[in-house]
Assembly symmetry: none
Homo-oligomer: 216 residues x 4
DNA sequence: TATGAATGAGCTTTCATTCAT
DNA sequence: AATGAATGAAAGCTCATTCAT
């Protein structure tokens, strides 16, 4: 049992170290020696657990994608049985922006994208575990709220795409593809603006806000 | 002069070949020999014109960024002195989606992002030449139209960001980070939905559409 | 005793597997893991029984050499107290050619020869157990037959060498160093021709044949 | 021209060094670094000229085989238009034994044999360039001499095989597969005995010797 | 005794880069 | 200016061998 634990621990340590090093250096510049050293094991141990550099890459990214996906999926929970939809939307927006501002998901996107030619199937897997899963969960919530008369999203999939775009798309643009950190205030601005625009399009009449806070 | 032209032509051929090969293989996997061969010159000739592999990469991406930026900037021209704003917005949306669906800008994003750790300043340069330039041009148009009473964008920068996000963000999501081609009809759907949502938030009352085309 | 037998069996299984794998891959390309796997044991078990890869090699080849040597020595038995010398010689010739056409002795030669730089003493040991032993036994028989007036071999050692050369040397030549299988008919041709030539030189007058079967 | 010479010289130097190192260490134990160092070039230069370690091996052995084959073929020249056949045979025998006693052909055989599993086609190529070529040339001479009434070899191919076996086969046996050097006197003994046995079988009546020099 | 796990050493190969022409 | 040839450096991967159970 100790042995098994040791094996599991070591494998996990290798995957963690791999993700860190890959995130720092990129796939090609990352060398297995550095990953092994970061994991505190010898190089062949890495090959014992994960047969290839490519396999190492795929496994590390898959594991990271699962974690990121879980965080993102959790962000739409406030929309479940929400009484105050604008408030719940804002909360979800803030959770998502915070999640996407983290270094891990940004590195994940970067690595998946840059490795997309060498690992064509990996991008899809990661998208499934993160974006698709998130959009699907969000669309479910929007559909429920529409059924409940609290929103008007005739096509919840498009609405979900748009809400996510208003959040992550603007975040990407503002953060210059994630290369600069945004202050919390700016994140809030993005969230507020996204929710306002979203509700302009999909809110029920009573909840639709004016384009700007006050009269221009 | 002929000599100079020959030199210029050769340099341009090298840069073109470099972008192509980098786009196919990524920075590290691309080897100078293949670039030289694609450009029809010998390896040392590449080094004569562009001293480094890194310099070669930077130069090729800068050139591509200028081209992409020009195409994007042209896409907002329909908004200049537009009589029918919804129609002009739709046209701009379609131009932008078409431009972003092309292989070159996608490769440019991928390369800039994956090279962002090794070439930190490059990402910013490219963003300036493409996204920032585009957003700025768009914000200009939105401000003018707001002044003219044809739109209501109290903060044109945010409005521009959101319109772009509704287009490119959704495009990215639907195309799975650009890994699959979208049919023209889906591009039109995205454009239409983006314009509708944008006008819900920022259109003048007479132009604000219903959330969906028909009755809910 | 059961335990001892188990141990012996395991050791034998390892040696057998080792010879097979070495014969297939050569010394260097053969990896201990594959040998262990072919023997049905774990890698460290191999090291428990035979301390080194080199020891493993030597032991496997020695065991094979003993077997091959026994088979070869048995081939000269027809010459013991032979009444019809040509017939006995032919029988011996056929037995030897059959023995040398087998895969095991060929692999043994190949391995001993290729390992001769790394294991200089091994070649001699194997030669002693096979060729030298065979030549010696054959020379003994020839000497006895000469004493009995049935042959004329003033130097039985040379005569033995020549008979063996006429068999195995021609076999090697025809089989291209053992790389191609010879049909049984060709083996018989070789045996017949060898015996005829041998008897031309060393047969008693009554038994000396014409160079060819029929008239020249 | 100097450049071309330099290239040719370097390639030849690499091939020579390769054969030497392969002969010393065997294919697997030989490392490219040592070959490069023996050739006086850097490791990548070896790869520039001969793309693989395998290619390097094949090329080095082919070149050596051509040289060895030429030497062997020259050894049968004394049989061309020979007046004194026994003397010419003896001369050829001595030339062949000397040639086969050299280190190069022995290493060639060893390497070809040990590499026969990894390079199956190579053994045949080498046999063609050496043994087959030699046997063919020898059979030609024997056929001519038989036509001229100076020998009686109804099947010159078999006779050639047997003569070669009486020489190289016995040489191999005596030298323990080439692992020990034979003194010149022993080589002469082998040659004399081989010629005597050969002439017993294939000589014309006037030239057929007694089994041993004198009466027993 | 037998084994899963771990490691130190080493090899082939590739590549960016520089000379010499 | 352009190129064939050469090289220093580095990385992925494998293997024989040893611990700890």
């Amino acid at each position: 049992m100790t042995a098994t634990r040791g094996r599991i621990d070591k494998r996990q340590a290798i995957l963690d170290a791999a993700f860190t090093v890959f995130a720092e250096r990129g796939y090609d510049q990352a060398c297995v020696r550095e990953i092994a050293s970061a994991a505190g094991v010898a190089k062949p141990t890495v090959y014992n657990h994960l047969s290839d550099k490519a396999t190492l890459f795929r496994s590390a990214l898959r594991a990271a994608a699962d974690e990121v996906g879980a965080v993102c999926a959790a962000a739409v929970e406030p929309l479940r049985d929400a009484a105050d939809v604008p408030r719940a939307l804002t909360e979800t927006a803030q959770l998502l922006l915070a999640a996407c501002s983290d270094e891990r998901p940004r590195a994940l996107r970067r690595l998946a994208l840059s490795g997309s030619t060498a690992f064509p199937e990996l991008l899809d897997e990661i998208q499934d575990a993160t974006s698709v899963r998130l959009r699907s969960a969000l669309a479910d919530r929007l559909a429920r709220l529409t059924l409940a008369g609290q929103l008007r999203t005739p096509d919840p999939d498009i609405a979900a795409d748009q809400l996510l775009a208003l959040l992550t798309g603007v975040l990407e643009s503002r953060s210059r593809l994630g290369s600069r950190e945004l202050p919390a205030a700016e994140l809030d601005t993005i969230a507020t603006a996204a929710v306002r625009t979203f509700l302009s399009a999909y809110g029920t009449p009573g909840e639709t806000p004016e384009p700007a806070a006050g009269p221009v």
